[in-house]
């Protein structure tokens, strides 16, 4: 039964209606382009059609890379003797609070790109970086590998114990909000980056299981990134269906971050978590979808899908859809070769394949090692060429 379900799901993109259908309907019904902002953006009011200066679309793909590597690298490489990476955010995002905290951390990290000088040279799209890396490897290997290493280093900052969140009853800072959460991540240079979120909770439900009480709630508030303040909304839905031979638990969480000057520009982060137990076997599927809206219209959708089978095999699929271009990458760890991550897929319509390793040099420094097809690249992990010299 699972195989059929899996096949249906895997092939769903080939049968589901194209997004262009919606656009055609819009054009037919509203030739003057009046149907702009969807409900979520509209709820915040504000003016529309002002020109934006944040390059929101460009950040979503980078965010996805951060996310997928944050999740997958520690899981796939955790048996690697250097460095010892444990956990992984998938295990840490276990309730509403941690989901909202991760939303603040991951979106906050990406929004930092446009605000911090140190990130100004970073590529706007990690996927494009990968694509460029593959295409012009002969003459630009070092520079391009450095770019991707920046992402990996940033990812590294989000791993394991470097992702912390602390919620407190709000004090004097922002009286209109009841709660304050400080989320701390570490950047590529080892410095701590903190994002503060002020919010009110809207209770949704309370579940008591095995003596433990789990509270589900929505949030409305603001996220501070640098000197800017972004409106945020978080919502969650949890459902359990129990049958004699099958149990399904589903969770859908959303986290929206709005542009401070125009709420019709926003990023919507969605987590879908499904745990299915059938005939004694458990299958866990997690999906993160980052959708970027500009003027209320979807301009980019990045889907990160994660699956762990009973036998421990890990698969993560990344799909980025923008400007009628669809890039797909499948990340896998292979049984028996836990020290590498195999990556293959399509970028700009062309096949690509490479591996990512974490290795340690004679000085004890760790570095990422990329193996692209037959060409071999290495790059320092912490941008510390000066020290090496």
């Amino acid at each position: 039964m699972k195989d059929i379900r899996k096949l249906l799901k895997e092939q769903s993109s080939a049968i589901l209606p194209d997004e262009r259908v919606r656009e055609n309907i819009r054009r037919e019904l509203y030739p003057e382009g009046r149907a702009a902002a969807p409900e979520a953006a509209y709820a915040h009011g504000g003016t529309t059609n002002t020109r934006k200066n944040w390059r929101i679309a460009a950040f979503a793909a980078a965010l996805a890379i951060v996310l997928l590597l944050t999740i997958l690298l520690p899981l796939a490489l955790r048996k690697n003797p250097v460095p010892p990476i444990d956990g992984g955010l998938f295990n840490q995002i276990s309730d509403d609070t941690s989901f909202y905290a991760y939303g603040a951390a991951s979106v906050g990290a990406i929004l930092s790109f446009e605000q911090q000088e140190s990130f100004s040279a970073a590529p706007q799209s990690a996927l494009r970086t990968l694509s460029t890396l593959r295409q012009s490897r002969a003459d630009a290997q070092a520079a391009q590998t450095e770019k991707i290493s920046r992402y990996l280093s940033l990812v590294e900052g989000l791993l394991s114990d470097s992702f912390e969140h602390r919620e407190t009853q709000n004090t004097a800072d922002r009286k209109e909000y009841d709660f304050q959460m400080v989320v701390t991540v570490r950047d590529l240079l080892g410095n701590s980056l903190s994002y503060t979120m002020y919010y009110n909770k809207i209770p949704l439900s309370t579940q008591v299981e095995d003596g433990e009480t789990e509270e589900n709630y929505a949030i409305r508030g603001v996220l501070l990134v640098g000197d800017r303040e972004y409106l945020v909304e978080g919502n969650g839905e949890h459902e359990t269906e129990i049958e004699p031979d099958e149990t399904e638990e589903e969770t859908e969480m959303t986290f929206l971050v709005y542009h401070p000057e125009d709420p019709s520009d926003y990023i919507r982060m969605e987590q879908e978590l499904s745990t299915e137990t059938e005939e004694g076997e458990t299958e866990i599927e997690q999906k993160y979808v980052y959708t970027t809206y500009v003027d209320g219209r979807e301009v980019e959708r990045t889907t990160v899908e994660y699956e762990q089978e009973e036998d421990g095999e890990l698969e993560l699929k990344l799909v980025v859809e923008a400007d009628d271009v669809k890039d797909e990458l499948l990340f896998q760890n292979e049984r028996g070769t836990d020290t590498s991550l195999r990556v293959r897929g399509k970028l700009d319509g062309e096949d690509t394949a490479f591996r990512i390793y974490i290795r340690q040099n004679a000085n004890g420094d760790t570095y990422y090692d990329f193996v692209f097809d037959q060409t071999h690249y290495e790059h320092d992990r912490f941008d510390d060429e000066e020290e090496d010299d």
Binding site: M1, D3, I4, R5, L7, L8, K9, Q11, S12, A14, I15, L16, P17, D18, V21, R22, N24, I25, R26, E28, L29, Y30, R34, A35, A36, A37, P38, E39, Y42, E239, E241, E243, E250, E272, G296
Partner: protein, 175 residues
Amino acid sequence: MKESKLERVIERYKAGDVRAFDTIYELTNRSVYFAVLYIVRDKMSAEDILQETYIRAMRSIQSYEAGTNFTAWLARIGKNLALNHYKRAKREIFADFDTDAYKYGTAEAEIPYLFDLAAKILDAEQYEILMLCQVAGYKRREVSEMLGIPIGTVTWKNNEALKKLRTYFEKEGRS
């Protein structure tokens, strides 16, 4: 999906807020699409009919009576259009439309074998429930609200459809 949420958005649209269209489309399009696809068995045709369905429905939305299941109302419009399309195509193309419908689309619109098989061996309700639960990603409760049938029926028909599809699929030696 909460039907009450959909009803609220429809009221907004009826009151002149055309920005509500996106939400209406988001909450309903897949149910309509699969109802249509089951009849025409061709992705491109189904997309054209889906488009026409919404254009007609949104232009005459004032005739929709609140609380009478908007998704089902849309699906009825879609099915009528699909049946007309089917009859017209059958007249125009002298071929076994039931068997070869997917061949009349372009290569990119060709329906994968498993979906084609599902459309052939399942009845309309089983097919729609299977597609909504397993392909469109709706929860059974949501499908129950959309189709206006009890959740137990959705669960049962979903499982029946899966079993039937697996049996045929294995028989074909493709699993």
